[in-house]
Subunit: 335 residues, 4 copies
């Protein structure tokens, strides 16, 4: 019998998960979606054929007919809903980041640990075919011992300024995915150095954030890496990772909606890459949910655990401190 | 309310359609699947969560709770089920080819016309993102007036010899998709010349078929084209089309399961392209079903009509005659 | 000591050879260039630092200080200069085609045979890095037994109509390179079928020629091939060959002057491929001259012999007859 | 009349310049080559057809029949020969780096300035077709305002340890090209931060050098860049640059000796990229010499001036200091 799922948050990412759970994860059944904005809850329930909607997430958590809670609400509510869900004995999937401060995160992870429920963090990119193949190349020894890593990760356009203001900043909101990718591929990072600036939109600077950054990382295993983020690549979503080692190099490319090349009097060209995460990573969202539901159904370990949600927050904090003080920062300084 | 669909045929392609209808076409509801082999009907109903299964396709057609019949049975039964469905007032989706002889096809199309039901033929490749983009490039004038066309279409491995024997042959079974692609992109063909041979497996020759062929085509608009088919490309499904014109060239590439490039001491390499039609064309199956269901729901013209199922059969016959007599054959010779 | 070379013909191709001989073939010394147009002879001698120029090619051939004659004059003079050079005991390099009729070719090849001088025909594409790698792939068994072949060969723009009129036609002038490529890669051809048309410029049709053609070929070893030619690809020189076999496929791509990709708000694009043969094949001209001079110096067999100049003429004739009579033509019909 | 050139140094790079000057720069005439090892001087003069050789570079500089001195000797001799050449009124081309310390460099540049001779530094990569196209893309505004830059530059194999010991280290010997590329594309750099390690060969570490490094750079115009160097990419010479801006991204790819793709039962693959600088950058060496000789002949400014040789040395020093002290270093700290 299908696991009964309740979704909290009917915004952009909540709808992605609703869509993939409804259409591509047959062993889960979404029975209710909650959003504090009734209109949003209602419209998403209609769009995805979810039987019920609610405006009280905490009440959703308490329902007896729910086995699993998928938390897609705003970041500041994550730990509250994690704690409530864990205490109600629900299995939990929570979007990244868990929270913007370590105290809150540690409190929530403690409750999860004490109650023994499963918690999977929404680092979907681990489930992307490119990144899985990259990890396989490393693990298979196809590139020998890793020496360096380069991540280039650019969004097609910045989010609204109102979102920027509560996002925790570029490193906490956007680069956090790349910090997770570092750990997924190559293990723990020891020290970071970062440069960041406002280049895309002055309003982002006025909101106290940056929109362009490079971070250099020293991994515990000696690998030297760099991450680049920009909030705006006019040609679309640019998501590339390269790992170079003693035996060679493995690098991912972007996905395009079609594989058509047009040669004309001006150039040899392709259409731009897929526009954003809902196109590029749609399969990875399905894959992470399938993996999560499978772990619940078959009582297996989830593949992205609480600590995987905590460490990238530490890395983001270290990166921000590095920019502020213009010096390399060890992760051990942060906690 | 969702359209009620019955599927006839629980073989490979029937299961593709069941899967896409169940998971990706929300406005359709598959209520029953029929197959003369009970085990196949039963297992597919379980696999895709279809409430009922039957072993009598004709009885499925007569059910009052069915609006739409999707015919995926063996080719020799297509026209019978088309006629029965049309007479029962059902909307029809039928796999290609309609039949291997024109008399039978014409009889069935006459009934469809007389009863006024809709009939869409399963030329799914028209709904592939690459082919749609190619058609758009032609229609937008991105390559000017088309002059030539080249299709290379290779399967990863031949089907079982038992299937070969009833398939109608390479041109009727496999190249028929490419004949349709010609018409989709560039309109009607006037004359063909073909060379064919047995290169992959002598057993295919013993079964009276060929496994490798090239066909040259003269289109009514003057375009000169070639199609190449092979039953076996060891590197996987090879599906490419190029249209060249006064303003440039547009060509499709293959799809790969990942976009990872590995450079090592031997080469710069990628994993092989997607293995076969269920990977490469899975979206096109969903797209054709969405388009079909949409045409039924909203009483629009279907996009691949009965005649689109008839003409490629004529082209296949012309191609086979050309090989037999080693001469160019006009389609008007066939009928 | 360097071989003393005299060049006959200071047109486009004569200058290519002068340039490569002067700058890239240290073991040859160009001592004189002849052209019936004095201005052309003079300007080329100045441009390439050739000590002398003449207006009488036959007199050049008779000079005692010349070991090697490189014939780059108009096609109708090739056999005369081959015969005179052979009778004067000179080693000969002659541009393609030897002549437009077989009687004349056979007469010249007889004199070459009787005098025992070496004659290399200017099928430079055999010496292109791509085509050499393709041949190596076939010979190494990297693609198993060859089954099919596809050549796409398009010029950036047609030559002047005056040239078209004396060129022998598309198949004799342009496709002859592709006919040679067929033989270089896969051996002798048995039968051809061709379609051709005027699509680029009506003036080409008025001159009695075609500008667009496809030819299907049956090789003696059973391979089925197609060649496509167009006199005008607006995006530049398009030169691609694919050989497909039981073990895989090997295909060449075009060369670009740079390897820069630009992604912007419209597309992901590269600059057009190299414009024409003087860019794309410049190394192959040097390679063929180096190989020729090496064969002379070290008394080795030349790699492109007289018969290699004869057979493509037969193929071109068969192709033209096929278009005229709209039927497959065996090469044995031609002679 | 051709400019008379004397080459000092008949090692690897001296021979590259001899070859390109002899075969590809018609307006220059190499009359003599000097090397303190007679055998090397002699063999190179024979190989490239240079009339004379010497073992005393200073004597070469004093010859009246020499207009131009091309300095390709070991780095520790560069400034001596620059000064002697300038004082002898010769025009000078000097390989990078000018020297490993700024005092020596400044002394030499002072003499050049005082004597008014021209001095071009051998940053050949500026003359590579890819890098020129990249600069053009930036200057044309094809990518808008530059925001970030990424250089990946890997050699196929480390030089001999004996060379490493006198090379000045990875940053002075290898990354110096990339430092120059930064300035060529995007102007002056303000501050750098670097991480480096020994990953390829412990003997390199024992020699006091590193073999793997990443450097982050802040440009005066606000661009944030990274450079990665490795002494060993097993797949060959990896030379890529990407500049990203408000209007898009421009990136260079590697060059391959052929454009053949082979698809087989294992992968879709190409041969490895060109192996090293003598293949990949051979045209750039010719281009820089043509530009240099042209500047001399026509009394134009040379395109890579003395200061272009000085600043990358400052950058290398800053990078080395950054690694030593694990902190960002401003170029103004160095001098």
């Amino acid at each position: 019998m299908a696991l009964k799922v309740g979704i909290i948050g009917a915004g952009r990412i909540g709808r992605v998960h609703a869509d993939t759970l409804v259409t591509r994860v047959p062993s889960a059944e979404v029975v209710v979606i909650a959003d504090i904005f009734e209109e949003s809850a209602k419209s998403s329930s209609e769009q995805y054929g979810i039987p019920e909607y609610m405006t009280n997430p905490s009440a959703l958590i308490q329902r007896d007919d729910i086995d699993v809670v998928v938390i897609c609400s705003s970041t500041d509510t994550h730990t509250q809903f994690i704690i409530e869900s864990a205490q109600a004995g629900k299995q939990i999937f929570c979007e990244k980041p868990i929270a913007h401060d370590l105290g809150t995160i540690d409190e929530a992870l403690k409750v999860v640990e004490d109650t023994g429920v499963k918690l999977q963090i929404g680092f979907n990119r681990r489930f992307d075919a490119n990144h899985m193949r990259l990890k396989q190349a490393i693990e298979n020894g196809e590139i020998g011992d890793p020496h360096t890593m380069t991540i280039i990760s650019r969004d097609p356009a910045p989010p609204p300024i109102e979102y920027i203001k509560v996002s925790g900043g570029l490193m906490m909101d956007m680069m956090i995915h790349d910090f997770d990718m570092c750990r997924f591929l190559l293990g723990e990072v020891e020290e970071v150095y970062a440069m960041g600036d406002v280049k895309v939109d002055p309003a982002i600077g006025e909101a106290g954030d940056i929109d362009t950054a490079k971070v250099m990382l020293k991994f515990e295993n000696g690998v030297i890496g760099t991450i680049e983020n920009s909030r705006q690549a006019v040609y679309g979503y640019d998501q590339r990772v390269e790992v170079f080692g003693s035996g060679g190099s493995a690098s991912t490319g972007n996905w395009h909606a079609n594989a058509v090349t047009i040669s004309d009097g001006n150039s040899v060209r392709r259409d731009k890459p897929m526009h954003f995460f809902m196109d590029r990573y749609i399969d990875s969202y399905a894959n992470e949910m399938i993996a999560f539901i499978d772990a619940i159904e078959n009582d297996k370990d989830v593949s992205v655990i609480g600590n995987d949600g905590r460490v990238p927050v530490v890395m983001a904090m270290a990166g921000m401190l590095s920019i502020k003080e213009n010096r390399p920062v060890k992760l051990s300084e942060i906690g």
